[in-house]
Symmetry: C2
Subunit: 251 residues, 2 copies
Amino acid sequence: MSLELYHGGPGANSLKVLLTMAEKGIDYVDHKIDLHNFEQHSPEFVKINPRGQVPALVHDGKVITESTVICEYLDAIFPDQVPLRPKDEYWRAQMRIWTKFVDEYFCWCVSTLGWEMLGKTFMRQMNEAEFEAHVAKVPTHEQQVKWRTARKGFPQDVLDEERRKIRYSVGKLEIDLAQRRWLAGDEYSLADICTYAIAVSVPRMQPDIMNDEDTPRAMEWLRAVEARPAVQKTIADAPWRQPQPARAVNA
Amino acid sequence: MSLELYHGGPGANSLKVLLTMAEKGIDYVDHKIDLHNFEQHSPEFVKINPRGQVPALVHDGKVITESTVICEYLDAIFPDQVPLRPKDEYWRAQMRIWTKFVDEYFCWCVSTLGWEMLGKTFMRQMNEAEFEAHVAKVPTHEQQVKWRTARKGFPQDVLDEERRKIRYSVGKLEIDLAQRRWLAGDEYSLADICTYAIAVSVPRMQPDIMNDEDTPRAMEWLRAVEARPAVQKTIADAPWRQPQPARAVNA
């Protein structure tokens, strides 16, 4: 069996799949895509995922995209190695409601604020021609619009609205974690992995929204996730864990 | 076993679950929620789904929300009655990529144009106080904003962008259906059900985008879905099939 993973390193959507791989102890061929050099838009990678987005899994020549779908796929084809989906169908449904919420809501507001930071820094350091040459290679219309908006700077009302959504999302974590240890019941699951991959940046980037005083359960959960050996190993060398934080590109 | 379904009739997200129930021949207690009288925001229903959205499934007292999650749940707990998820995990992943695309992209652009129509008609027939009394009962902030925007009318650039997204979505159907009979392989699946529930309104509402000349495969697929006895039965009395089309509320 051949299993190859294209990913952007331990952050955002790529982190979901890296954590799933590590937790289940799956061997794979590792292809790190250099997001800061726009390798995700290179002709070679666009052949694998025409949307130019990481992560992408290639299993015996067949491509699977979309991080959450990849995680469920890996859990299905390696069912015996640390199951990451609740056996009980009710809790499995709750797991999917969480991963769906993350993909449809939480990841977008966190992502916009990440892009705002990128726009303010390295995007504005490029001249117009250089920047547009990069944008021209972005395969999806929506991402092109996002790049251009990020370079100009998002309007303040958009940023305020995204912060409101992050606050709502962290509040939702706080509510669910008052009732149970993990997000989809008594066992650690893909709900925790997929939510952690997005939530992990919030205390660092929006410390007034997610912190020990206001959201103690969410913070405790974050630490419980990070205490897991598979998570420790996966995030050990993450740029955002280094003393000098580097820029992270959110999908 | 007790199985109760709260739904808004055969349209949009409710239609996904009604089609799944019919296809699998599942018996359930039917609770039709009158969306035109805002029954989804009534205290009784908000107790079941605090987001005030249909559909919602109650299985032995446990509530499951989110139409796509409900469909997978039903297929999991009734695995032998007309399986609606491909057995092969690669195709099951492709099924999830489609349902995800519908939930994150396709349904929203179709929904906005539906709301635009609602806004122009019955929302503007209410006076301000009456309208705001209804909006006050809408449990989610995002839906409140959508109601108010719909009443004012969406800006033309928003409507144009939504039409561009519908065109992109139908184009994606056309591409996939050039390669296979159903959206997730050789068998009819939840990918078809969930996409049909949203796509069905497009030829009627945006005939210049989806029609026999420009998108023949998508139209042929739509008819193939509708030829299924379970679909026939489910949509037989749908208001949108009657000579005098009624208004449909998209989630």
